[in-house]
């Protein structure tokens, strides 16, 4: 298609208008970003010494949850849910740590590629079961979370194994300046490299289409079943990345699934992805992960009970989502 085709008879959009349209579409994400900035200022006020160390701590803890959240966000956007994310991460973690024990860096690379494929495969299994059996996704993935957990225990009964050195170096320590932790850069780069091209592809469109309105997607010629299976596969891939990041940051493989599945759902919702499907992206949920991490670290600093922090997370989740629907309601009426 030639460029001439694309010219609209009306005048071209100015960049201000373009920006306004972009901002309007990403209101939620920008709002979260604003909230994050306020939270950082608040943190700095209560704890003037908050700096490189604190940031790095939060980033390292946010890395596995970030990948878990990206994994969950993709399947939620396409109208499903996956409760087996943490179990898949644990399984990938023990497989990686066991295989890497005492091995060369080159072999470590082969392991990484191998477990990423394993993640895709687990996701394909989840998705195929959901589509073929027609059992509700929440039931299938809950059941599969036991399967993957059991598989992890078969590989390794107690935490063990080790990580190759380069994998650790990839996630730990700062990059360039002290304030920029490697874990944060790694998370953003990996998610961006996979998600941005995916979102712009026909497959990415199909994720949104199926999540938004299955009948319309079907009538538009989208293969609904195949799209769902591939969404679960992407979720599996990101869960595998989460598992790898667990090995990288702890240098161990732990067969017990960590607290990632439901916190990831919380971050997804807080990040502006509709649980009904079809709306949102990955940027919002990742910012939400950082916000939740920062709140927890502030609570620790203020010497508040850790359990109170968990209560606070719940309250914030409900409050923010209510506020969101309220704003949307106001806007749709205006």
């Amino acid at each position: 298609m030639t460029a001439a085709v694309d010219t609209v008879p009306t005048r071209r959009q100015t960049w201000q208008e373009g920006f306004a349209a972009w901002a309007r579409r990403n209101t939620w994400t920008l709002g979260l970003l604003g909230f994050l900035v306020l939270l950082i200022i608040f943190t700095k006020l209560i704890n003037p010494s908050f700096g490189a160390g604190g940031i790095s701590n939060i980033a390292i803890r946010a890395l596995p949850l970030g990948f878990a959240t990206a994994a969950q966000a993709i399947v939620v956007i396409s109208g499903g849910i996956d409760l087996s994310v943490a179990s898949m991460m644990a399984f990938v973690g023990v497989v990686t740590a066991t295989l890497m024990e005492g091995q060369s860096p080159e072999f470590g690379l082969a392991v990484v590629i191998g477990v990423l494929l394993l993640g895709l495969l687990m996701g394909l299994v989840n998705g195929t079961l959901v589509v073929l059996t027609r059992v509700p996704d929440i039931v299938v993935t809950l059941a599969m979370s036991f399967v993957w957990w059991g598989a992890a225990l078969l590989v390794l009964r107690t935490p063990g194994g080790e990580s190759v050195r380069w994998l650790r170096d990839l996630a730990l320590g700062p990059i360039g300046i002290d304030l920029l932790p490697r874990a944060a850069v790694l998370l953003v780069v990996v998610v961006a490299v996979i998600w941005i091209p995916l979102q712009r592809s026909r497959l990415g469109l199909s994720f949104y289409a199926v999540g938004s309105n299955q009948l319309a997607a079907f009538r538009s010629g989208v293969s609904v079943g195949r799209t769902k299976v591939l969404a679960y596969a992407c979720t599996g891939l990101f869960a595998a990345l989460g598992g790898l990041s667990l090995v990288a940051t702890t240098t161990l493989g732990d067969p017990k699934p960590g607290p990632y599945t439901l916190p990831a759902v919380a971050a997804v919702v807080l990040g502006g992805v509709s649980l009904a499907g079809g709306r949102g992206g990955l940027a919002g949920p990742l910012i939400a992960v950082v916000i939740l991490g920062l709140i927890r670290s502030d609570m620790t600093f203020l010497n508040l009970n850790q359990n109170l922090a968990t209560v606070a997370e719940g309250v914030i989740l409900i409050a923010v989502v209510m506020l969101g629907s309220f704003i949307q309601l106001r806007r749709s009426r205006a």
């Binding site: 085709v5 469109l205 319309a216 997607a217 009538r219």
Partner: protein, 528 residues
């Protein structure tokens, strides 16, 4: 027909499809020549929508063949049908609400230049493609959907009720553009409830009745009558005679039990008024989607009217919840039994449910009382309760009797029945007709919509005709034969008021309903 099979663009022969025990299509055929606009006609339940689903690959037929340009072609999905050159546009636009228009075009791999060309032709230029589909007015989305289909130049373009909810000016443009498709290589299959549109744009019409193709008519002046005749088949004289004979003389008009004044709701209902008297069965005659769904939802209290007033026994009421309606003595029997019954619970519990909840406010349920009342209701309605432990094991007819019985047991004043005999065997149907008549004779007021026009003369005293969300006429049901009713339903008797003009106001501000997967009950009240 003088056409030889070789010069047909699309030919479907011997198509059959059954869903469980229900025969949707017995032997349907359709032959479309290149360059023609071909109408597909049939009354409710004739099998039109099943045939459309088969042509577009959404449903697989049990038997039959489909050929496009002489080559066998059986699509297994809309995507495959699309690749095979059959593209369809429905009344509900198939656009994804959460994607912008440009992404929607990309989803169907629609080239941009021809799309813009057709948008201009259809009278909408300068649409901002970066707008989310859910923010674009519904009428515009329908045009976008059509332009998107035209842009990929399909061999066969299938328009299923596409114009049903378009404003007049847009309908005109659409018909004009469709008309211009004539004489070329490609064809259009056109489905519409409006005879005027059929007459103005179609070359031929294929008529379906009870799952069979009963005729192909060349569309010309006066062919409407012939089409209606074909849609009806032979009229069953004896039934109507029997119905008329068994009817008692109309009683002296009492004060109306239920009154509707200028009711408007949702996208479909614009202006409906009527009086329903005690002791009478009032029918609602309407084609599918003329606003009757919204009307019954509003009257039953599950949706709120946009405009207008409901009066019970002369005093205005406002229902915020079905419980309000039930308290006012207005009860609802739905077509879909699953909406009304607790399928896993017993017949007894289901019948007792509405008045149990009333008694339970004082504490313990009086089981002896309950048993007696329920038994009486089961007997009155001749419910076969042998499989009574779980309602879902009853036949559809017996299930529907249970939904009626629960209201009869409590003593019914006003009953609203929405297509109560849908998918029910003929014997049970007659029992239900008799039951409704008995209820009326005992002083109840009954409002009934039925998709089977035959039922109107069997059960109703009077009937109002709704077309395009408005009452367009009133018929004395005892004197009405099916042909009269069908003509009335198609609004053929009066063409003074065109519904298109009225659709404009509804369409203008409305956004595409955001997509939940299952059809949720429309409740305009809840959105406010």
């Amino acid at each position: 027909m003088t056409v030889t099979t070789t010069d047909l663009l699309l030919e479907a022969t011997g198509i059959a499809k059954t869903y469980g025990a229900v025969v949707a299509l017995k032997d349907a055929s359709l032959a479309v020549r290149p360059g023609e606009v071909h109408a597909l006609m049939g009354a409710n339940g004739a099998g039109k929508s099943t045939l459309v689903k088969i042509l577009t690959g959404a449903v697989r037929p049990d038997r039959g063949t489909i050929e496009v340009r002489g080559k066998p072609r059986m699509a297994h999905s809309p995507a495959e049908a699309r690749r095979g050159g059959v593209v369809s546009v429905y009344q509900e636009p198939a656009l994804i609400p959460d994607l912008d228009i440009r992404a929607n075009l990309r989803l169907t791999e629609t080239p941009l230049a021809p799309f813009r060309h057709w948008m201009d032709e259809l009278g909408i230029s300068g649409l901002d493609l970066s707008r989310m589909a859910r923010e674009v007015p519904l009428a515009t989305l329908r045009i976008v959907d059509l332009a998107r289909a035209l842009a990929i130049e399909p061999d066969v373009l299938l328009l299923d009720e596409m114009t049903a909810a378009l404003p007049a000016n847009l309908t005109e443009r659409v018909l004009e553009v469709i008309g211009r498709q004539k004489g070329g290589e490609r064809s259009v299959i056109f489905i519409s409830h409006r005879m005027i549109e059929i007459g103005s744009v179609c070359d031929r019409a294929t008529v379906l009745r009870e799952g069979e193709t009963v005729g192909v008519v060349d569309v010309a002046a006066g062919s409407e009558e012939r089409i209606v005749e074909l849609m009806l088949g032979e009229i069953v004289e004896d039934i109507s005679a029997r119905a008329a004979a068994g009817r008692p003389a109309p009683q002296a008009p009492a004060a109306p039990r239920l009154q509707a004044r200028s009711l408007a709701a949702g996208h479909g209902l614009h202006d409906v008024s009527f009086d329903l008297h005690p002791g009478e069965v009032l029918g609602v005659v309407a084609l599918e989607g003329q606003g009757q769904d919204e009307l019954f939802e509003v009257l039953a209290g599950s949706a709120r009217p946009r405009h207008g007033e409901i009066r019970v026994d002369g005093s205005p009421v406002s229902f915020h919840h079905p419980a309000d309606a039930i308290r006012a003595g207005v009860v609802y029997v739905a077509a879909d039994r699953a909406e009304a019954l607790l399928m896993q619970r017993s017949v007894r519990e289901n019948i007792a449910l509405p008045f149990t909840t009333r008694l339970a406010q004082w504490g313990v349920i009086n089981l002896g009382n309950e048993r007696r009342t329920v038994d009486r209701a089961i007997e009155t309605l001749q419910i076969d309760a042998r499989a009574g432990r779980e309602v879902r094991r009853l036949s559809g007819g017996n299930q529907q009797k249970v939904t009626i019985a629960r209201w009869v047991a409590g003593g019914v004043r006003t009953m609203l029945c929405f297509d109560p005999t849908r998918g029910i065997d003929i014997r049970t149907k007659h029992q239900i007709y008799l039951l409704l008549r008995d209820l009326a004779e005992a002083g109840a007021a009954v409002l009934i919509y039925t998709s089977e026009l035959k039922e109107v003369q069997l059960v109703c005293d009077r009937a109002i005709v709704i077309f395009g969300g408005r009452v367009v006429g009133e018929i004395d049901a005892t004197g009405a034969d099916e042909a009269t009713l069908l003509r009335a339903a198609y609004n053929l008797t009066s063409d003074a008021q065109m519904p298109e003009e009225l659709a404009a106001e509804v369409v203008a501000g409305s956004a595409l309903a955001t997509g939940s997967d299952e059809p949720s009950p429309r409740s305009p009240g809840a959105q406010q």
